[in-house]
Symmetry: C2
Subunit: 307 residues, 2 copies
């Protein structure tokens, strides 16, 4: 299996759907342009790819004779995958605001408020968060059993995006800048700010299909390790990365006194920890054999990431 | 029927539930405090009261032998009523930000960002918007028919809160400050910024019970007239109200060159228009006779409002 090809196919599939979901919305052009600017600026699309892959894993475990899922069988869950990308993007727009991280660049382009102004950037973020729920609600299936699964997946996403998840992590991140770096707080910030939505993407993918405990628990353990590894590599890239590859300013964490793994453990130890979490994530996939090979590829690609 | 007493009972019922819905949330205290500060600061609770009243109307039309609905029959829909108040409150917090209307006072208290800082106010707003969906998802009923109705009501709320509704109105409001006052744009702003969520509250109340066309169309027509009357009286109060009663600065619309009814039609004509829209809203209730008396009372109270 050519994993890079499979990944790029998923990217195209997601990007095309994101475009369609924004197109022809009945709204004011000023907010639509600002939303498009950020949502369609590319990016790794990690969360929607994880959601689709987890749905695929649940499907393959349930249909042992199959070796892959067809596009038309995935179509049902694509809007939910796009919704989680909308939630991720709204959080980036708001995090970049002057009152928050005050960043000028994101994905190699000026940040949303730098182009459209703060008021529009705030509303574009609000708009994307709300649109995520609109899109999921527009695509609720008809059959009672499928509704139940779908709604459970939605609840998972909502909880992880909110004040008990991502927003909780972001406020802790803001509140603890310049504070002494405590292991417990560092973990709180990283699990809430980043890992929560990553794990929720995986859980939602499984829940939307069924809630088979082995698959569900497998992806939860996988997500917890992957999510931490992802945020640690993010911290490392802020220290060692290049603007030309990252598309955003580096050295920001240190300047703002952020709670990061390199600040707490040093760069080398952080790299070891990231590697360990990646290994851990891969070990969680063992029960699923070749059916989880794409998730394994995603783990390894995080370790190699330059952006 | 003592309508003031009935209104105050609904207020207590809603306020108590809002408190409970925030209490014991697993989150960071900094964002919880900021959310509580704004959400529990009182207010008219117009939108949740409308939602409960519309649900009651649908119930009474369906149960012609009954003359009122019991508290326990309303309990089912109370979280949705609270969710719409959370959405309204998030929009106030974000609208008050320096990048938007830059207001210092709201409901007689300092605005959220004045007390907690801009970053926390942005996150408190995000948190309330997201919590609205969490709360609705946590309270989805079990039976297939009830799920369908509930989800339709949720969709209505989501659509009206988003870029095709309230956010669309807010961006138009920001974009057209200081512009020539055009009737079409004025109407766009008022219908989207205010009327959309008011009408959605009523529609959601009916949809959550059933979707009997006569009741649904009745409350839609009622909401459209009531929502416009509400925003026109808002414009009027900004011009003629007292800080001590309104709890916020007056004369702000004129200072910011906002599109308002008094700016377009003058104060006296605006009062006449508000009265006409209130009369229109009441006429929409005729088919429901005494069952809609409380909604009629709400209409009349808007005309008399001092805050």
């Amino acid at each position: 299996m050519d994993f890079n090809k499979a990944y790029n196919e998923k990217l195209t599939y997601i990007n095309h759907s994101l475009e369609n979901l924004l197109k022809d919305r009945d709204s004011h052009p000023a907010v639509l342009s600002a939303m498009e600017y950020s949502l369609l600026a590319g990016g790794k699309r990690l969360r929607p790819v994880l959601l689709l892959s987890a749905y695929e894993l649940a499907y393959l475990q349930d249909n042992s004779q199959k070796i892959e899922i067809t596009k038309s069988e995935l179509d049902f869950i694509l809007p939910m995958a796009c919704a989680i990308e909308m939630i991720h993007n709204y959080s980036l727009i708001h995090d970049d605001l002057p009152a928050m991280d005050n960043d000028d660049y994101r994905r190699g382009k000026l940040t949303n408020h730098k182009v459209f102004g703060e008021a529009t950037a705030i509303l574009a973020g609000d708009g994307l968060l709300n649109l995520a729920y609109e899109v999921m609600l527009e695509n609720i299936p008809d059959s009672p059993q499928m509704i139940n699964n779908y709604v459970k997946a939605m609840s998972e996403i909502a909880y992880s995006a909110g004040i008990s998840g991502m927003i909780g992590g972001q406020i802790a991140d803001m509140e603890n800048q310049g504070e002494a770096n405590e292991e417990e707080m560092l973990k709180y910030i990283h699990t809430h700010k980043t890992e929560a939505l990553i794990t929720a993407s995986l859980k939602a993918g499984v829940l939307a299909y069924n809630n088979e405990p082995e698959v569900l628990n497998g992806v939860i353990a996988y997500g917890k390790a992957l999510g931490l590894a992802f945020q640690i590599t993010d911290d490392i890239l802020d220290l060692t990365g290049e603007f030309s590859q990252l598309g955003k300013a580096t050295g920001q964490d240190e300047k703002m006194g952020k709670q990061t793994y390199p600040a707490r453990y040093g760069l080398e130890k952080s790299k070891v920890l990231a590697r360990e979490y990646i290994d851990e994530s891969i070990s969680c996939l063992e029960p699923f054999g070749t059916k989880s090979e794409f998730l394994k590829f995603l783990s390894l690609s995080i370790l190699d990431r330059k952006r």
